[in-house]
Symmetry: C2
Subunit: 523 residues, 2 copies
C-alpha cells in the first residue's frame, strides 16, 4: 500500500478534478506531496450509488462474516503500522509514541466491535408468541429485530487522525451495525487517510464484501460535505469537529426531504471541580495531574480540562501559583494544523483582552511554527456568569480557573453551563458529601461522563463508556461515539408480524443457530 | 372527579385567559359545555417551572414507587370508566364499545409500563470493573446507567382520545422513564382530557410524587404549543397527528439554542400487497378483511390501509367488484371532528378530480353531519409513479388500488414510497417466494412493521411491537411509540467513573438490592 493521491470509490482508485489539497507539516509549514485533487458531485454520486447497492447484501451478512471483516481491517492496519504512523506524524505533528498508541487503540476498537457483532445484543431480538385463543382478540406472532439505517457518511476528525478518522469509532460502529460507510477524509491528513482507506478497501475485497461497503472522498465541505449529507441515499452522519461545523451539518440534515440523524461531537470545556479538602491536602499532586491533562496532545483532546472551579480558601493562592509555575515552564508543542493554531491564538487573545480575566501564566515562547503555548487564566464566578463568551471552548492547552465565593455560587455556575462531554470532581473523603451530591445531581443533567479523582483526558473504549452529552457537547445526548453502545446510533427496530418462517430473518427464526440474546414474551 | 373547564398545573386547577375552547359533538354539531379558556405564556411558564422542579426527585424514585404511581393512574382510570367513556363518546363520536376497549388498552398500557419499570432493563446498567494493574495504563472503574432526558411535552392526539392522549403511550413511557410530563390537551376532547388529567393529578398526590410531575394545558398551538416546545426546560416532545403539525414541531425543536428530540408520529398510507395466488384462492375473505380494516373507526387509524397493490390477473376485476360492493354498502360513520371530516372530503375530492384515478365505489350518502362516506379508487402503477400527490395520506376510509402490470413495477413502486408505519403482504404458500423476499427486503427499509396475511389496523401493546418507521411515518425511525421499547425515547446514557460508592446511584452500587439486569465487563 502506498500513497498516490487517490480517492477510493469502492474498488477503484480515483483522482478528483477540483482544487488540490495538500497536507501541511505543521512543524515546518511545508506542503506535503502528493496532491489530493478534491472530489465533486460526480464522485459523491458514484460513492452513494455503490453504497446504496451494497447495503442490502452487507446488512444481511452473518455475524461471523461481518466480524471477520472488521478483524481483517484491524489486521491490515496492524501490518502497516510503520508507514501509517510515519505519515500521520508528518501530517499532524503528533509524536510517534502517541500515534502508535492511537493506532493500537484504533485496531483494538475494530476488534472490540467484531466481538460486539458476534455477541448479537445489537440485534435486540424480541419475540412475543402468538396467542390464537386469546379473547376478545387473538394475538399475532410478533418478532422484532434492529436493522441498520443505511449508508452512513463519516467526517474524519483532525485531532485523532486514526482513532476518530477513516477507520475510527464512527466507521467501526457503523460497519458493525451493518451500514456501508462513505468517509469524507479530513484535509489535514489525506495521506494517512489514504493509507487507512486502502487497508479497508483491501479488507472489503478479501472478505468478499459488496464493493460499495466503503468509499473515501476528499474535497471541501462546500464541494462534497454538503452533497454527501444531502444525498437521499445517505441515512446517517457521524462527525467530530467544531461546533460551527457540526451545527451546519445538523441544519442540512434537518432540511432534507427525509431528515436524518447527525451524530456530531462538537464542543466541550470539561469543568474540573476542586473541593476544599482536596485542595488543602494534595495541592501538589492535583497541580501536576491537572497540568499534565491540560498539556496532553497540546490540549487538542475533546475532553481537555478547559475550566477549573474552586472555592476561595486559604491554600488557593499557593495552589494557583503551583499550577501557574508548571504552565509557565511547559514546552510549546506543535498543533495539528495552522488553522487550529490560529484559532487557539485568537481564543487566547480574547481572554487576555477581557477585563474580567486575569492571565495567571503562559508557557515558554514558541520555537517553531504552529506551536501551542499553554495559558492559564483566572476569573470570578460573577464575571463568568455575566459573560457567556467565557463558556466558549478554546481548543488547545488553555484553561480558565473560576474562583467562587460560596458553594451556592458553584451550583449556580454549574446550572448555567452548557452540555459537556465530561465533568470531574477532585475531592477528599472529608469533603462535604452533601454538597457533592447536589453538584453531581446537576452534572448528571449536563454531561455524559462524571469522574472522581481523575482527569478527563483519556477515554476508555469499553461497554460502559459514554463519550457524549447534551448539546453542544454532541448533537444527540441519547448516544455515545466511543464504546460499544455507539453501535445503537445506526440501528432501528422493525417488527415482523405472522411471518412465514422461511421469510423471517435468520436471527428471528425459531431454533436458529445465531444464538443471540432474546427477550421472549417480555422475559 | 367532575368536568369544570380547568387546566391542571401541578396540584392546582386553573382557568386560562385566552379564547374559549368548546368541544363539538361531531354527531350533532353542537358545542359542549363547559368552556375551556385557553392558557398562555404564564401557564406554560408555571407548568415548566414545576416540571423542572419535580424532575430531580421524580427521576430518582425507586422502581417500586414509580411502578405504583403508574398503577395508581391505571386504578383511578378504572374507577371512572363510565364517566370517561360517556364524555369521550360525546366529544369524539366514537362508539361506546370502542371507547371502552380503548380505555382498557390505556389502563393495561400503564400497567405494562409499571412492569417495565420494575424489570429495570431500561436502566441499561453496564459495569466495567477497574484494572489497576493493567499496562501501559490502568483502567478506571466505569459504570453506565440511563437517566431520563427531563420534562417532556406530550401533544394529545385526536384519533385516540384515550390511548394516545393525556394518559396514553407517550405519557406512560415518559413517566416510566422518569420524566415529568406536560400535556397539551387536544382541543377536540378537553372534557375527556380533564377527566383523565384529574386521575393523574390524584395519583401524583396519593403517591407522594413531586407536584410538577404532571400538568395539563389547553390552548392553541400558537398560544401554548410553540411556547412549550421552545421552553428551555423541556427536553423532549411526543406528538401524534398530522404531517404538517409534526414537521412544524420538528422545526421549532431544531431551532432552539439547545435542540431537543421530537417524536412525531405523522403520516402513513400503509400499503397492502395482494399476491396473485392469494387473489385467486381467497378473494372473498380478502375483500371482507380489507374492507373491515378500511372502515374501522371511520378509517381514522394511523395504520389504515390507504393503498392496495395488486398485479393484473384474470380474477382481479371480479375481486375489485367484490371490494367495491362492500364499500358501496358501507354505512357512513361520524368522524372525530368537523376539521377532520372537511380534510377527508377535500382529499377524496382531489382523487375524484384526478384524471388518472378511477372511483370504484363510494359508500351510502351521509345521514348526519361530519360523516365519513368510504371511498375506493383505482389507478395504474404508471400514474402513481408519475404523480407524487397520490402518495398523500387521505385520513379516513379511503383507499387507492394500484394495478400493476409486472412484478418489477411493484418493486419500483415500492422503492418510490415514503416511510410507512406498516406494510402488509397477503400471500398464499404457492405465491412466488423469491419475489416476496425481494419485496420484503425493500419494505424493511421503508416501514416499522411488516405483516403477513393480516390487516394493519390493530396495534398490539407488547415488547416486540414497533409503531414507528422512517419519515414521514415518524420523525425518528430509531424509535417506537407503542410497546415497551417506547421508553428508550426518553433516556440517555451517563457514565460514572471511579465514583465513591456512597455517591453512586443505587442501581450502580455493588450488591444493590435493585437486582436489575447488568452487563459486567461485556458479559
Amino acid at each position: 500500500m502506498a500513497i498516490a493521491g487517490n480517492m477510493i470509490i469502492g474498488q477503484e482508485l480515483v483522482k478528483g478534478s477540483k482544487k488540490a489539497i495538500y497536507a501541511v507539516n505543521p512543524a515546518t509549514g511545508e506542503h506535503l506531496q502528493p496532491a489530493y485533487l478534491g472530489g465533486g458531485a460526480q464522485e459523491v454520486d458514484r460513492a452513494c450509488v455503490l453504497a446504496e447497492k451494497a447495503f442490502d447484501a452487507y446488512r444481511e451478512t452473518d455475524l461471523e462474516s461481518r466480524a471477520k471483516f472488521l478483524e481483517q481491517i484491524a489486521a491490515n492496519l496492524a501490518a502497516n503500522v510503520a508507514a501509517i504512523v510515519e505519515r500521520a506524524g508528518l501530517e499532524s505533528g503528533l509524536p510517534k509514541a502517541r500515534l502508535e498508541s492511537e493506532l493500537g487503540r484504533t485496531i483494538n476498537q475494530l476488534k472490540l466491535f467484531a466481538e460486539e457483532v458476534k455477541a448479537g445484543r445489537w440485534i435486540g431480538v424480541r419475540v412475543d408468541t402468538a396467542m390464537p385463543e386469546r379473547t376478545p382478540l387473538p394475538r399475532a406472532d410478533l418478532r422484532l429485530r434492529h436493522i441498520p439505517l443505511g449508508p452512513v457518511v463519516v467526517f474524519g476528525a483532525s485531532n485523532f487522525p486514526l482513532a476518530f478518522s477513516v477507520a475510527g469509532g464512527d466507521t467501526a460502529s457503523a460497519f458493525a451495525a451493518g451500514c456501508p460507510v462513505i468517509v469524507k477524509g479530513h484535509s489535514a491528513h489525506p495521506g494517512t487517510s489514504e493509507l487507512v482507506g486502502l487497508a479497508i478497501q483491501a479488507a472489503v475485497k478479501s472478505c468478499d464484501m459488496p464493493e460499495g461497503t466503503f468509499s473515501l472522498l476528499f474535497g471541501s465541505g462546500a464541494d462534497i460535505g454538503t452533497a454527501l449529507v444531502s444525498d437521499r441515499r445517505v441515512k446517517a452522519v457521524g462527525f467530530t469537529g467544531s461546533r460551527s461545523g457540526g451545527t451546519a451539518l445538523m441544519k442540512i440534515a434537518a432540511a432534507r426531504p427525509e431528515p436524518i440523524p447527525v451524530y456530531a461531537e462538537m464542543s466541550s470545556i470539561n469543568p474540573v471541580y476542586l473541593m476544599p479538602e482536596a485542595l488543602m491536602n494534595r495541592a501538589d499532586s492535583v497541580a501536576t495531574g491537572f497540568v499534565n491533562s491540560l498539556l496532553m496532545g497540546s490540549g487538542q483532546f475533546c475532553t481537555n480540562p478547559g475550566l477549573m472551579i474552586v472555592k476561595e480558601a486559604p491554600g488557593l493562592d499557593a495552589f494557583l501559583s503551583k499550577v501557574a509555575g508548571l504552565v509557565s515552564v511547559a514546552k510549546p508543542s506543535t498543533m495539528l494544523t495552522p488553522g487550529i493554531h490560529e484559532a487557539y491564538e485568537l481564543g487566547v487573545a480574547k481572554l487576555k483582552s477581557n477585563n474580567h480575566v486575569q492571565l495567571l501564566a503562559q508557557a515558554q515562547e514558541a520555537s517553531g511554527p504552529n506551536q501551542c503555548c499553554a495559558c492559564l487564566f483566572a476569573t470570578t464566578a460573577e464575571a463568568f456568569l455575566g459573560d457567556p463568551k467565557l463558556r466558549d471552548e478554546v481548543f488547545g492547552s488553555s484553561s480558565l480557573i473560576i474562583r467562587c465565593k460560596t458553594d451556592e455560587e458553584i451550583l449556580e455556575l454549574t446550572n448555567g453551563l452548557e452540555g459537556q462531554l465530561t465533568a470531574t470532581v477532585l475531592m477528599n473523603p472529608t469533603d462535604n458529601k452533601r454538597f457533592t451530591k447536589s453538584l453531581v445531581s446537576i452534572l448528571e443533567r449536563k454531561v455524559g461522563r462524571i469522574l472522581f479523582n481523575g482527569y478527563p483526558t483519556g477515554v476508555e473504549v469499553c461497554p460502559a463508556m459514554v463519550h457524549g452529552g447534551p448539546f453542544p457537547a454532541t448533537s444527540d445526548s441519547r448516544t455515545t461515539s466511543v464504546g460499544t453502545e455507539a453501535i445503537w446510533r445506526f440501528l432501528r427496530p422493525v417488527c415482523y408480524q405472522d411471518f412465514p418462517s422461511d421469510l423471517l430473518p435468520e436471527a428471528l427464526k425459531d431454533g436458529n443457530s445465531w444464538n443471540v440474546p432474546k427477550l421472549v414474551n417480555g422475559r
